[in-house]
């Protein structure tokens, strides 16, 4: 019997042939590992500093990447910062994928009134530039870790919903949905068995591209002081406090931004590779 392979196995094989995607996946793996293993990987305590050690350049007395304005080791803070920054970048997308994706599938599958109500509401939120909406909501709510996450989730729900709705509306027209209805199955059973598996591809590809944007935006919110509060190590927050010191140790101050950039690019690469492997047109 010849080996039969499923869709996801094929996607995995194509993904592995994509050098950019592999690079992105490798970088992300390193970042995630560093975040998880922070207590073992970080050379210093991220919250321990000293006045004498303030703002030292690269390589100063064992501080490979220098120290910040309170004399804390930059490398250790960057490693610990990955924890909050990654969580802040990924959590809103996960939330938006579940809520927006779910709404989109329901709207796309049932059409008519359900579709009209959901999509018109989404159109309104779509009519805001994403940065503005995130800042406005987080700012109005007061600006804390939870506020930032809620704001970003709200920002990502409409585009996610649109992607899911479009994909579902396309699948809904196919004969196998008709055939499933002809067996007497109800809407939920058809969605569970026949729709989700067929719209998951575009939804996941889009979600992975959103993570890249979400990393930038969530770091931006903490840069503005609208998310994580000190002394928690977080890349966006570190960047905003270090900006005042660019005349002392310019390149040390640029490090947190570089971390944000590398993570964001890695997610972009990953998402491009996924998109190509799944043959999703964007």
């Amino acid at each position: 019997m010849p080996a039969s392979h499923g869709y996801w196995l094929g996607v995995w094989r194509k993904f592995c042939k994509h050098p950019g995607a592999l690079l992105g996946a490798f970088l992300l793996l390193c970042i995630v590992l560093a975040a998880v293993l922070a207590p073992w990987v970080a050379p210093f305590d991220p919250n321990q500093g000293g006045i004498i050690l303030r703002l030292k350049p690269f390589g100063y007395d064992g501080h490979l990447l220098g120290t910040d304005e309170l004399g804390r080791d930059m490398l250790s803070r960057l490693i610990y910062g990955a924890r909050v920054s990654l969580a802040m970048g990924v959590a809103p997308v996960v939330g938006a994928t579940i809520i927006g994706g779910g709404l989109g599938i329901v709207a796309g599958f049932y059409g008519k009134i359900a579709n009209g109500i959901v999509m018109r509401v989404m159109d309104v939120f779509y009519a805001f530039p994403s940065v503005l909406l995130a800042v406005a909501i987080a700012g109005a709510m007061g600006g804390g870790l939870i506020d930032g996450m809620v704001a970003l989730t709200l920002v990502f729900i409409p585009p996610m919903c649109r992607v899911a709705e479009t994909a579902t509306a396309q699948v809904r027209r196919l004969d196998f949905i008709e055939a499933a209805r002809a067996t007497g199955a109800g809407g939920w059973a058809i969605i569970r068995y026949h729709v989700i598996g067929n719209v998951l591809g575009p939804i996941l590809v889009y979600a992975s591209s959103l993570v890249s944007v979400s990393m930038l935006l969530s770091a931006g919110l903490s840069f503005l002081g609208l998310s994580v509060q000190p002394p928690t190590p977080d890349w966006g927050l570190m960047l905003s406090t270090l900006v005042q010191s660019i005349y002392v140790v310019p390149w040390v101050c640029a490090l947190p931004g570089a971390a944000i950039f590398i993570t964001s690019v890695s997610f972009s690469l990953l998402s491009n590779g996924l998109g190509e492997a799944m043959d999703v047109r964007r």
Binding site: A127, F128, A140, M141, G257
Partner: protein, 317 residues
């Protein structure tokens, strides 16, 4: 004509929805919305007067209509922090943001469009890969961080340009055409232009490739047209998609420059928004968000209408 009216009719409910969201911002702010308009040292009697004047004692729907009526008359309330009319504050900031965008947007358009067309001419080749890579970098770069790096390079390491701020502008001047004004704008404009450049390059490439794959191009080739004439046809047909993207990016820049403006202390709308948030100045926050999102709605509408003008297929329905 039908298409134009339809699009206007579609934009209207969205504008109403946007105004509802802006109105609601006051209510997601922690604490009593009344506190946002009442000075902290007000007496009980003053509070009662203000409460009545602002209609806070009425049902929400009525409050919304009262608020909308004020807004439509150009009254966005008084800023708590500066005690000046919000409309005035937003208007001044808007001019400054517009100056930055007026510098960043054409640059993004020209560079992005050229990159996109060049990449589409040689799909899959080295040039195409470089352009696609650059476009992805432009989109994934945190533009506020690029601002910081630019300041480090051009203001700290080599002090060529000012790090932050804006030169005082003479009344009546747009302050874009002389070096003393312009030098403040170069770094923020570059930071702002990054994302739109990447996105315009990417979508131009996609649009041109899409047109190139259509059958009529083959017909043109078969008719013996030279490459230059074919390129003209292709670019014309790719235009509607590019226009839509450019207009969208313009709207994003107008409403999304808060981070870059904060880095450079550039007194535009984004900077003002940051100021409003820091000072818990809800009327100011609401006014800025309302004005910027309405600009976004209108640019989207204009993009739509321009597309209709360029692409005759969209004129019906």
């Amino acid at each position: 004509m039908l298409g134009i009216f339809r699009r206007l009719a579609l934009a209207f409910p969205i504008a109403v929805g946007v105004s509802v969201v802006c109105f609601a911002l006051v209510y997601i702010a922690p604490g009593d919305p009344l506190e946002t308009v009442v000075p902290s040292d007000a007496t009980a009697a003053t509070i009662a007067v203000i409460k009545h004047a602002y209609g806070f004692d009425k049902p929400l729907a009525i409050q919304y209509l009262i608020w909308l009526g004020r807004v439509l008359h150009g009254n966005l309330g008084i800023s708590i922090a500066t005690n000046r009319p919000v409309s005035l504050e937003v208007g001044e900031a808007l001019v400054n943001t517009l100056r930055l965008v007026a510098l960043a947007m054409p640059a993004a358009l020209i560079i992005g469009y050229a990159m996109g067309v060049a990449a589409a001419r040689y799909p899959g080749r080295m040039l195409d890969r470089i352009v696609s890579g650059l476009a992805m970098f432009g989109i994934s770069l945190p533009n506020y961080w690029v601002g910081v790096v630019l300041v480090i390079v051009f203001a700290v390491q080599w002090p060529l340009l000012p790090a932050t701020g804006m030169a005082p502008i003479a009344p009546g001047s747009i302050g874009m055409f002389n070096w003393s004004d312009l030098r403040f704008m170069i770094l923020p404009a570059i930071s702002l232009a990054l994302i739109p450049t990447g996105i315009i390059a990417r979508s131009t490439r996609a649009a041109v490739l899409d047109v190139l794959s259509q059958d009529f191009v083959l017909t043109l080739r078969a008719k013996g047209l030279d490459e230059e004439a074919i390129t003209r046809h292709v670019l014309r047909n790719a235009l509607p998609q590019v226009i839509a993207v450019v207009a969208l990016q313009f709207g994003y820049l107008m409403g999304g420059s808060i981070l870059v403006e904060t880095v450079f202390s550039w007194p535009g709308t984004g900077y003002l928004l940051g100021y409003a948030i820091q000072n818990r100045d809800v009327p100011l926050l609401q006014g800025i968000v309302l004005v910027l999102s309405m600009i976004f709605v209108v640019t989207n509408l204009i993009a739509d209408l321009l597309q209709v003008r360029v692409d005759p297929r969209l004129r019906r329905g």
